[in-house]
């Protein structure tokens, strides 16, 4: 295959896919970009592997289990949309190669819409997480003390349980069968409502509720019932796989000073794991989302030029080059989706 605008040495390719300067340059861009992603993913994996065991109460999961199961299905649908946009992109190229300019414009527009939907969903996901207190710096949730203070100021305070249900969802305090969360020994629901729980009780209940949610495969919220003593809201990590009951036992058996140290260790460990997850999540999905956003703009410019009649069969490689970028973005998402959401 040959073309007048070939400046590279003539290289035989199969079918009607040309080997142009632009295509080679795009591959170089993709390769360098891939290395940036690999660097980020390397950091992600190191932090994740290093955290093994610290989230044992959550089944050894590295991330708080708030992604399961609802968010996983939604993100799966978003992945489906991105795959659809990849196929419309190759359809745009095929249309141009067949001399169908109307098809080119139609499929470019559909690809743009798919990309825009993906970015829009990511915006929705981010705002949802940030609203829940999950930020690039770590987990920042409204705790019950703050909520109680606000509710009292607004004259709307009824009970701590009502506040907790409002903050974390009513189902959080429900369970079924053997998976139902149990209260700390010697404590009743009335003690919780009247604020008679101590730090160890709150920690125990927190882990019980979280484990119950996971066992029942109900959506797990990142919030804890009470975390003022731990400093870091939203984490249920215990140092190296201790269960809630074991930690409580340790706390109850410890003197006041040691107890403070145990809680401090718990806080530090939880903070490290939770914040690492949050930071890498936002960096990876943000870096990828930025690529999709740039891709949508790129396709928009390509569409405008197509409407101006800039493309024909003879220069279809320009569309193929745009497609290469778009498919790369799709390809990277396959990896991110697997590593962040599925494993």
């Amino acid at each position: 295959m040959s073309s007048d605008h070939h400046a590279l040495p003539h290289i035989e390719t199969e079918g009607h896919f040309e080997f142009t300067n632009g295509k080679f340059a795009m591959w170089l861009l993709i390769v360098s970009d891939a290395m940036a992603f690999i660097g980020f993913l390397g950091g992600y994996m190191v932090l994740r592997i290093a955290s093994e065991g610290t989230m044992a109460p959550l089944g050894g999961a590295w991330q708080p289990a708030w992604m399961l199961p609802m968010d996983l299905i939604l993100t799966g649908l978003n992945t489906f949309v991105l795959i659809c946009s990849s196929v419309t992109m190759v359809k745009a190229l095929a249309a141009l190669q067949d001399g169908n300019l109307g098809g080119l414009k139609k499929y470019l527009l559909l690809t743009m819409l798919g990309g825009s939907f993906f970015v829009g969903f990511q915006y929705f996901e981010w705002t949802h997480f940030i609203h829940e207190g999950i930020t690039i710096q770590g987990l920042k949730l409204v705790d019950l003390d703050t909520a109680e203070h606000r509710a009292k100021e607004a004259g709307k305070f009824t009970s701590r349980l009502a506040l907790a249900e409002e903050l974390y969802g009513k189902r959080r305090f429900e369970g079924s069968g053997d998976n139902a969360p149990s209260l700390p020994e010697g404590k009743t629901a009335a003690d919780f409502q009247s604020g008679k729980f101590n730090d160890a009780d709150y920690l125990f209940l927190d882990l019980e509720v979280m484990n119950s949610e996971i066992a029942d495969r109900r959506p797990v919220k990142p919030g804890v019932i009470h975390h003022a003593a731990y400093g870091i809201p939203g984490t249920t990590a215990t140092p190296k796989g201790r269960t809630g009951a074991e930690l409580r036992e340790e706390l109850e058996g410890a003197e006041g000073k040691d107890r403070g140290q145990i809680m401090e260790n718990h806080r530090k460990e939880g903070a490290r794991v939770a914040n690492n997850f949050c930071s890498t999540f936002f960096v990876l999905t943000g870096f990828h989302g930025l690529h999709v956003f740039i891709g949508v703009i790129y396709l928009g410019i390509t569409l405008i030029r197509a409407m101006q009649g800039a493309y024909h069969r003879g220069n279809s490689s320009i569309i193929e080059v745009a497609g290469l970028y778009w498919h790369f973005v799709d390809l990277v998402w396959v990896l991110l989706f697997m590593l962040i959401y599925l494993i």
Partner: protein, 100 residues
């Protein structure tokens, strides 16, 4: 790529024959559905789930690169260029293993 394959992507009487884009699309969608189902179905066997998920992702990535990015039909030099990051990734992975 065989001679008969290259014929399938050539020009036939002015109209182009294209790679099987829709078949590839349905294949990718099917793999994605399986992927999303795995954490629910194999939640008790994490080792198997992780192995399957990584395998499926590799198949998806190769499929996208070969058919949508046309590496199957392009000059071999582009395929070599595309493999460059894998070399770097391998070196980095080995180095990071020591870090852990």
């Amino acid at each position: 790529m065989s001679h008969s394959d290259s014929h399938a992507h050539g020009t036939t009487g002015g109209a182009h024959a294209h790679p099987p884009y829709m078949k590839v699309f349905f294949f990718l969608v099917a793999l994605t559905i399986v992927e999303v189902a795995i954490p629910f179905v194999l939640s008790s066997n994490k080792g198997l789930a992780v192995t399957l998920l990584i395998s499926i992702s590799v198949v998806k990535i190769l499929t996208i690169a070969r058919y949508f990015m046309h590496l199957k039909f392009d000059a071999r030099v582009l395929g070599l260029v595309a493999c460059a990051p894998l070399v770097c990734a391998s070196i980095m992975s080995i180095a990071l293993l020591w870090d852990n």
